[in-house]
Amino acid sequence: MGVVIIGGGQGGFQAAASLRAEGYEEPITLIGDEPQIPYQRPPLSKGFLLGKQEQRHAELRPSAFYDAQRITLVTARAAAIDRASRRVKLDSGEHLEYHTLVLATGARNRSLAHAGAFYLRTLTEATEIRQRLTAAQDVVVIGGGFIGLEVAAAARTLNKQVTVIEGQSRLMARVVAPVVSEYFRSQHEAKGVDVLLNATVLGIDEREVILGERTRRPADLVIAGIGVVPNVELARDAGLPVGNGITVDEYLQTPDPRIFAIGDCAESPSMFAEALCRLESVQNAVDQAACVAKAIVGRRTPYTSVPWFWTDQYDIHMQMAGLPMGFDQVVTRGNPETRKFSVFYYRAGKLCAVDSINRPADHLTARKLIGAQTMLSPDQAKDESFDLKTALT
């Protein structure tokens, strides 16, 4: 029976690979609903759109890996989980029995009320956008979050006329401080991107996006990146608790001890947040997968990894450590005009997150500072003569 993993993204792949690395000997079945073998998504909105990377570079492992590791890949959609008989029903009608089930169902793009936009999550979608980008002249990106801005940067690098439409008053408002939003706005504008804030899309015509009676933007390609919805339906229909994700404990286990949930689809307690949190990142998917693999082979420990994330836009490489939610104070280390600076977020006097723009050493130190819950005062953080590493010792 062994382990059945639902979801062939980064988390599902890693759970399978980590189980074998941990010495797990029973069968492993990885169910994915995409036609390709497991691949990584981050390059799709970056180097892949620019034509710098091809599909084989995105594949997490070559197909021979799965045979060698005795990991059975099943291309199907899981239709239902029968917890009583411990079986997953596939849309083909076939059943797979499990001893332990790992839900790595990921998330899907939130869609606009209007038709006419393309969305980017899968390799298939990215391939289509890449092709259309070649012929396009005027590109409108709806959503000023990570995906939207990465796509905008790629399109502008390919010399397209690019407009970014954001409903909030600043870019990436959900996850970064105003100083960071402002920096990215200025950089996109310096590259020639038209950034429209507080803007609402009223409709999409064949050749334009309508923002108001007199405000229209020509568009022969519209791409929307307005967030995701976790894929919780399988778990909910099986009677498992669901909030903003499939609810799991600190061991990433659902109330059914044979079922775990990891990655974008799961909400779990975090020592870095005040409430249950659901994160959409490679780090979270990979580390949660490794944590669950250990639990399955009998080496159970709570999930305590420091969250980190990155985005690449033009030559700006931003790395984020920790979780800024609920921050009440921000200090900046370095001068944004030098194009290298870090922003330290504090919540009730405690360092909770650091964003580093082209300062990789700060980022790596930040991961350790946050992980060890080290005291670092805002005055120390902004003082460049203070070596951050000394706070660790």
Binding site: P42, R61, F65, L364
Partner: protein, 107 residues
């Protein structure tokens, strides 16, 4: 295609052809060479593709950028003067014959 040899810490050697433009990390992953994990997929974010480059090949490599240098500090096995992250080594025709040693552990 340039040939690259990967030698594990126990002495197991594998020589594979790696296309120009791919990275030394991709050469290992695509050919199922053990000892390189590449958890972040080649984005210079995790230091699990750490290798020791045989000294005589060092002059053929591009100098490391600030992010690779910082990331190497977090590698699980000791950093040495010939340490590199293999995801940052883009193969050129001059890489033909390159020999790298993989460390005892990457995690």
């Amino acid at each position: 295609m340039p040939k690259i040899t990967y030698i594990s810490h126990t002495g197991t050697s594998r020589t594979v052809d790696v296309p120009v433009g791919d990275t030394v990390m991709e050469g290992a992953v695509q050919n199922g060479v053990d000892g390189i994990v590449a958890e972040c997929g080649g984005n210079c974010q995790c230091a699990t593709c750490h290798v020791y480059v045989e000294e005589k090949f060092l002059p053929r490599l591009k100098p490391m950028a600030e992010d690779e240098d910082a990331m190497l500090e977090t590698a699980a096995s000791p950093r040495k003067s010939n340490s590199r992250l293999s995801c940052q080594l883009h193969v050129t025709p001059e890489f033909d014959g390159l020999v790298v040693h993989t460390p005892p552990t990457q995690q």
